[in-house]
């Protein structure tokens, strides 16, 4: 049973049990333009919700990636180091950033479902 959620920082969060897979949304990659560099967090690091957990850089600018939830980073997408354009090509699939073990499921309440995110983007 999986569930797809979104943050106001334009991340998608796929929740499967107590594991969340995190990436940036199609809207985010489109706004950023061609992505040339991605820095993922270290596996094993403990992050708090809203911590800086990485960077995504387009030709134009660097943007921080914030942890959407509190937890432990358990896996990162190593392929992005050599192929950052995967984030443009497939932001919701091959372009995922990291997986984390969710520490506090209560934080899921603060995330949006797809319909809410769509209206959030439309209104921003």
């Amino acid at each position: 049973m999986s569930e797809l959620k979104f943050s106001e920082e334009h991340e998608w969060i796929l929740i499967e049990g107590d594991v969340a897979t995190v990436g940036i949304t199609d809207h985010a990659q489109e706004q950023l333009g061609e992505i040339v560099y991605v820095e993922t967090p270290e596996v094993g690091s403990e992050v708090n919700k809203n911590d800086d957990t990485g960077v995504v850089e387009s030709v134009k600018a660097a943007s921080e990636v914030f942890a959407p939830l509190t937890g432990e980073i358990i896996e990162v997408n190593e392929a992005l180091a050599d192929n950052p354009q995967k984030v443009n090509d497939d932001p919701m699939g091959d372009g995922w950033f990291f997986k984390m073990k969710i520490a506090d499921t209560g934080e899921l309440e603060g995330l949006m479902d797809e319909a809410a995110y769509k209206s959030f983007v439309a209104g921003s």
């Binding site: 920082e9 995504v56 134009k60 921003s124």
Partner: protein, 374 residues
């Protein structure tokens, strides 16, 4: 995710090509008070590479175009800039600098001898200070007018000359850094062979009434694509060309910036422009800092604001521009370094998000400039 752009505020100005940018699907951003295209749907990398191999059309109408008329205009302008303005032949174009009393740079500009007047192009972000400055240097014999009834369109790249020659064959023979009045598609234009990409190309001052149609005519050529400010920045960065506000400011001297070639030989002796003493002294004694290129190892871009340090963590300088080079497929940057430490081939580190990234000091430009010398 931080820094996603939201809608532009209201009070922005638009250039005569605004409707064309919208029609072409440009992403518009606020820049120097104007709503400008940062990129078109093809994206910065594609636009950049197209300009290097064919021809790119840039709307640079936000820049300030100015003409100075009247007897003694050359001498008046020479009180503000280190260029031997009187020595510019008719049809000649010179890159120049407004300096301050400390020898720092207030803006960079192009000065053309247009025959019976001087034609100047200044930066958009500085024009509101440059124009009063210019007026303050004029006497009643001279007058200044802002050319706001002309758009400014740059056509840059190895195929620019072929495209424009179809309208005016004489343009093919113009050397780089010259200017002429010419009929282009029925419009009386000022065409200057100059640009900000490191490529051969032209900057064309076009009457506003026909500007949009003229741009459309150029874009109908299969060699020409529209190029936004994003690629304009990556092109100039690769070509080693400084950007005012990033790489040049009121605390940077021409000596430090590697722009002494813009200080005319005759005026190094005679002076008579702001900061002449400082610039002269730095010619003799050496400038404290030097603008260099940095080639970061790895893929992480090093951007303006990053500190440059040595292996022991001692600060050696500051990155003023940096990003991704589409031509080289990796990061490049420009930095000001202590002159004694600015040795090409040396390894230094740029501090990016607290991490020291190894970089090699290199000579500018990163990509060979391809100007037509005639």
């Amino acid at each position: 995710m931080s820094d996603l752009q939201s809608g532009a505020p209201q009070a922005l100005k638009r250039t005569p090509l605004y409707d064309l940018h919208v029609e072409l699907g440009a992403k518009l951003v606020p820049f120097a008070g104007y709503e400008m295209p940062v990129q078109y749907p093809s994206g910065i990398t594609t636009e950049h590479l197209h300009t290097r191999k064919a021809a790119g059309l840039f709307d640079v109408s936000h820049m300030g175009q100015v003409r100075i008329d009247g007897e003694g205009r050359e001498a008046a302008l020479e009180t503000l800039v280190p260029t031997d303005v009187a020595a510019i032949p008719e049809g000649g174009v010179k890159y120049s600098l407004f300096t301050n009393d400390q020898g720092g740079i207030l803006d960079d500009l192009m000065i053309s001898n247009a025959g019976d007047n001087l034609y100047l192009v200044v930066n958009a972000a500085c024009k509101d200070q440059d124009i009063p400055l210019l007026r303050s240097a004029l006497s009643p014999q001279q007058s200044l007018s802002e050319i706001d009834d002309h758009a400014l369109i740059a056509l840059q790249g190895p195929k620019a000359v072929g495209v424009l020659s179809r309208f005016a064959p004489s343009l093919a023979r113009m050397p780089f850094m010259t200017t002429t009045m010419v009929d282009l598609a029925g419009l009386w234009c000022r065409a200057s062979r100059s640009g900000y990409t490191g490529e051969d190309g032209f900057e064309i001052s076009v009457p506003v009434d026909g500007a949009l149609e003229f741009a459309r005519t150029l874009l109908a050529d299969e060699d020409v694509e529209p190029i936004g400010l994003g690629a304009r920045d990556t092109l100039r960065l690769e070509a080693g060309l400084p950007l005012y506000g990033n790489d040049l400011d009121g605390t940077t001297t021409p000596n430090e910036a590697g722009l002494l070639w813009a200080v005319s030989k005759s005026r190094r002796e005679t002076g008579g422009y702001p900061g002449a003493d400082v610039i002269r002294a730095q010619i003799t004694e050496g400038a404290p800092r030097k603008r260099v290129g940095l080639k970061p190892e790895g893929r992480a871009p090093v951007r303006g604001g990053a500190e440059v340090i040595d292996g022991e963590g001692r600060k050696l300088g500051l990155v003023t521009s940096g990003g991704y080079s589409p031509s080289l497929g990796g990061p490049v940057a420009m930095a000001y370094m202590e002159r004694t430490e600015a040795l090409a081939g040396d390894q230094v580190f740029a501090l990016v998000r607290g991490k020291p990234l190894p970089c090699t000091i290199v000579k500018l430009p990163f990509v060979q400039q391809n100007y037509y010398r005639g």
